[in-house]
């Protein structure tokens, strides 16, 4: 494995299920965990729907991969930035999102979702080494 430690940001802007980008993006995150880089995820625009509560794909016959987000803590992905304006524009708030947590060394699990405003999201993006866009 490379000794380089880069900041990778996965930018998710598309809604799930209508296209494969959300699912195949998360597959990269899972594989990427083995490379021990600094990984975080960003959800903005329609990407916020990827972590919406209550998804059930049974009637459309496609794979429901929403719960994979809940397991990302086990893959050292502890930071999921969610853009406030993207939620608000879509009539959503944090209570519409899944509860996603990660283990810490203390007893308590911590939330992985961090709500950020657009300006903060821009600063976060500008802090990255590599941006993977979906």
């Amino acid at each position: 494995m490379s000794k380089t430690n880069k900041k990778f940001l996965y930018v998710n802007r598309k809604a799930p299920h209508g296209s494969i980008y959300a699912l195949e993006a998360i597959e990269v995150v899972l594989i990427g965990a083995a490379f021990e880089q600094q990984v975080s995820l960003a959800f903005l625009d329609d990407g916020v729907y990827q972590i919406a509560r209550g998804q059930n794909t049974k009637q459309i016959g496609t794979k429901n991969f929403a719960n994979i987000f809940k397991a990302l803590g086990d893959y050292d992905v502890r930071t999921m930035y969610v853009e406030k304006e993207s939620l608000a524009e879509r009539g959503l708030d944090v209570s519409d999102l899944m509860e996603i947590t990660h283990d810490t060394d203390d007893a308590e699990d911590l939330p992985s979702i961090q709500l950020v405003d657009r300006a903060e999201m821009a600063r976060i993006m500008a802090d990255q080494d590599v941006i993977l866009s979906y």
Binding site: G32, F35, L132, S133
Partner: protein, 130 residues
């Protein structure tokens, strides 16, 4: 500089593959190094050798195969995306019990780790998609 190129769409339906190819050529002409061209999502469809595009149009698969050969490019087709979409090399076809393979010259099937590795090793990663 070292570039990683990511191609997220297949031939013809979207312009992404053409733009990626034009960019890659320009980067090589300027003396830059291409660490890898990684084909993901429908981008794996650039790697089938079975296309028969019209004679009066560009042959996208051949464009990539020839560019790859000329410059010794590492052109990777993601195995997971390829399996979903039916792009196989001989080994994969045998392993999966399929009656043929279809991968074009110059492309190699490998894992998603190659994309992450490109992000680590390259100075710049550029994504072409829809």
């Amino acid at each position: 500089m070292k570039f990683g190129i990511v191609v997220n769409e297949g031939p013809y339906t979207h312009q992404a593959s053409d733009t990626a190819w034009n960019f890659t050529r320009a980067a090589l002409e300027a003396g830059h190094e291409i660490v890898r061209v990684f084909f993901y999502h429908d981008g794996v469809n650039n790697a089938t050798r079975l296309t028969v595009p019209p004679q009066d149009d560009r042959n996208i698969q051949k464009n990539w195969s020839e560019l790859g050969e000329k410059h010794g490019l590492d052109m990777i087709v993601c195995i997971a995306a390829a399996q979903r979409r039916g792009i196989l090399d001989a080994d994969e076809a045998k392993r999966q019990g399929k009656d043929s393979d279809n991968i074009a010259p110059g492309f190699r099937i490998s894992g998603l780790g190659q994309l992450i590795d490109a992000g680590i090793v390259a100075d710049r990663l550029v994504t072409f998609g829809d």
